[in-house]
Structures are given as C-alpha cells and as structure tokens.
Amino acid sequence: MLHTLSIGELGRELTSGRTSSVELTRHFLGRIERLNPALNALITLTAELALAQAEAADARRAAGESGPLLGIPLIHKDIFCTDGVRTSCGSRMLDNFVAPYDATVVARLKAAGAVMLAKANMDEFAMGSSNETSYYGPVRNPWDTTKVPGGSSGGSAAATAARLTPFATGTDTGGSIRQPAALTGVTGVKPTYGRVSRYGLVAFASSLDQAGVFARSAADAAIVLEAMAGFDPRDSTSIDAPVPNYPAALGAPLKGLKIGLLREFFDGLEARNTALIHDALKVYRDLGAETVDVSLPHLPLSVPTYYVVAPAECSSNLSRFDGVRFGYRCENPTDLLDLYKRSRGEGFGAEVKRRIMTGTYVLSAGYFDAYYLKAQKVRRLITDDFRAAFEKVDLVIGPTTPTPAFSIGAKIDDPVTMYLNDIYTIGANLAGLPGISMPCGFIDELPMGLQLIGPHFSEIKLLNAADGFQRATDWHHRSPRGYE
C-alpha cells in the first residue's frame, strides 16, 4: 500500500516507474477525502495544485532529474505562507488572507519537487497544546477521535499518523512539534534555533519559533530536514553553516553514546511513563550506549519563564494585525481606535487574546524588570544548565509529555493546566536546542513519546540515535485502527 511506504521506498517506486507522482498524489487525496472528515486535520485542500505539481514532478523525472523528495506529497502547517494559497494560521484574523509569497521552507521543498496536498489545521497562531483553539474547530486524534492530537501542530501530526501524507511540516515554539508527535505516535523533529529559515513563517515568538518536520521515522525526517535546512539571507536569525547530509549520517553505531537521564524529568513522573522510558533505555544500553545521571536544577522554571517570554514576543508580533493592510476588519469602524480594537477583538480567539494581554502586561511600564527581564535571566540559567550537562553527555533523554492524549474539552478551560503539558519540551526552546520525539510505547492504548535533546547543531547525533532506536524497535510502524 502506497501510504505505508517510507519516503525512501516511495522514491524507489517512483524511480522504477512502478508508480508516478500523479498516481501517488491521487492516492493520498483519496485517503484525505475518505478519512479527514473524522479528523478535521486540514484547513485548505489544494487538490488541483497538487496534481499540477505532481505532473511537473513526473515531467522533471522523465527529463532525467532525480532527488529523494521529487514527486513526494506533503502537507504544510497553515502557518507557512504559500504563494496564491490561503494561509490562515488557524485564525479568523487570516481567514481571507491569500499569501503573496512562499515561505523559504515552502520554496525549498517545492524546489526539491515535493507536492503540496493541503494546509494543516493548527492551534490559532500556534498558541496551544491541543489544537482546540483553531477557528476551524478542533483536530481529532486518529488513535481515538474523542482525544486531542496535541498542538499547536495538531493537524500536521494527525495527518501524518493517519497516513494522509508521507510527511508534514510543523513549527515548534514550546513543543508544538514534539508534543503532538508523541500524542499521535509519529516522529517529530525540532531543529536547532537558526537551522531552518523563519522567512514566511508567521511569527509567534521570534526567539523561540523553529520550523521542523513530522514523519513516520527518523530516517524519513532526515531526508526532509536536509531539504528544509540552511542559511537564508532573508531571516536575520538564520545561521550561516553548511547543512550536513543527514540521511548519509544514519546507521553509525551507538556504542559509547552517553545519554543523560535528566533527574528533573523523572521527578513526579507517572509510573507507566517512567517504565516506558526505562524500557527504551534498555534498548539503548543493548546498542552500546551508556547512561549518566544529570541534573538541570533550573529546568522546573522553564514553564513560567516561557509564559513570560513567549507572550511578550507574541504581543509584539501580533500587533501587525490591525485591520488596516490585510486580514480581518470589523464592520463600520467609528474611528481608528475602534477599527483596531474590534478588528483584533473579533478577529482573534480567546487564547490569543490572553497571551497578547499577558505579554502586554509583562512588558508594560513598572513590570518590565520584574517579569520580562527576570525571565530573560532565568532563560540564561536554564541554558547554562543544559550547557553544563552536555559537557558530560552527548544527548539528554526523557518523556515528551506527562500523559497520553487527553479528551477534547478536558483542559481548555484552565490555561495554566494546559500550559503544564509542555513541561518537558519547553526547555529545549528556551535554550535553542534541537529535539526529537519518537514513539516508544502505549499507555491506555494511546501512543507515548520518547524525547531526545542535544546540544546546538547536533541533529546528526539526534537523528542517528533516534534511527538506531527505530531499527531495534517497531513502535514507529504501528498505525491507528482504520488508518492502516
């Protein structure tokens, strides 16, 4: 079945002529038509565009071109600007916004020949951990449609898990790739800050946002990451460093790999979650890795630190949505102030308004030092803790989430309860570190994720460690019932 093949296997089917990109695209569009209504994973379907791109990819191949992503379908999180296609960020504010340019991530994958099937549903402006804040309704977890898929990249995660696409793009500001990857049983990669361009990625928190990938294996993610990553002069925080050949680096033995058991991750962790991580550690030890206890004493402060820094940055970034040049405008504004207030008040959902106001408060006169400056100092303490740990170990390991997927509606009324879902992922964003989540088992028949975090620009080590685990286990091959 075409949707059970890896990106590498699909490439071989295409190269051999056993299938074409058009046939592959039709196959996934068919699955989307049948299976997406129960999931609500997508906001905009781009079927005609996809078929045109697929024909173009087939023509390129006929003309002698090749490449691992040539003709391979994908889904983009609806936060990436896609030229000529609606880019809504899951918000009423941009419901009518047709992007006039491609994000660099989109352009790079397009140049590699990938075919865009659709734009994925997401928490509004990437703010959320459950994909319940979207203007377009919640996304449902294919493993149990009464449960959330996680967020904010819930649509990308659900679509990948349901095999509606071989891979999907996402963004991770506080865990928004890793957490939904864990809750939907797929592999999610957040690269080092600055590794992948943010040009055309609608900004939430500029010092934290990073684009990444969902796939069903680390090996597939490595192929996609190689195409996405690289210096971009249009992103002033983009790092000018060569992109390694990630796929070629996989398969290196894990003997001697030092994995840090992060004490603060295991304090108070539920017994079944702890057991899954320990099972995974046994796999790593059998592969020759060593485990070392490490402690990051300031890590428990990462959630409050994030919920000062991220809202502060978002309040600045979202000030551009003012009803003047693009996006939602209220009806019959009486004056400019009314135009701003009602366009924003009506265009944004509750969580977005909460975060903008939190940010406005912590940046306001009299509070800036106590909150924002203080949080920036704690951010450095957390980053220094990681740096010290990486002097002793190559990678750090732990759970991705405290629990499996929770029920839709269970946590949406209390923001702080929702925020604590990011407790294991946020530290990596604050320190700008790369992280990966991969399936490692089940609790109550729902998938759970294992997280690896590495030092800056250690994607090779991370992908190799994840791939090594996946060669020795089969959690990543499991599929939700009905989506096999």
Partner: protein, 96 residues
C-alpha cells in the same frame, strides 16, 4: 498578586483589544491565574546573570549593502487589503 478588572481594562486598551462586558470576568480570572503562575520567577535568585534575548550567543544583526533589491509589487500585496484606493489603504479619518 491578582489582577483587577481595571488592570485588565488598561491592558486591553494598550493591546488595542476590545473585550465585551460578558467576556471580562473570564479574562480577569484567567489572566490573574497566569500572572500568579509566572510570579514564581520573582523568587528566583538571578543576581548578576545577564538577560538572554535569544538562544544563540554571538549572533548579531547582519548588515547588507544599501542597494535596492526589492521591486514594487504593491498591487499584489494590496490584494489582501480590506479597502484600497489609488494604492492607499483606506481607514477611518485620523486627522480632523
């Protein structure tokens, strides 16, 4: 250290957000709980630690030559505007 309704009204004004009377109590409660949650940071000893604005040390703002590289494509960009006239964005009168 909870917020009052007046606090939230001031913040909403600064953020240029309209909040209805029905919505106000929910925002007062949730914003207060968020502020209480992040107040934990005030108890952390940070001493002489330098604030960290972004995660990669040594990054600085790149500069480029002062040369024109963008072309005028305002019609394309203004296609998304709520109201445009003669290439200008139309808004309620600002200056009397």
């Amino acid at each position: 250290m909870s917020l009052t309704r007046l606090d939230v009204e001031k913040i909403a004004h600064l953020a240029r957000l309209s909040i209805t009377d029905e919505e106000m109590p929910v925002y007062v409660t949730s914003l207060s709980s968020i502020v209480d949650f992040v107040d934990e940071l005030s108890r952390v000893q940070t001493g002489a630690v330098l604030p960290m604005a972004h995660p990669l040390d040594g990054q600085h703002q790149r500069l480029r030559a002062d040369a024109v590289t963008e072309i005028d494509a305002h019609e394309k960009y203004q296609a998304n505007a709520p109201a445009v006239q003669a290439g200008l964005y139309v808004v309620p009168r600002v200056i009397e």
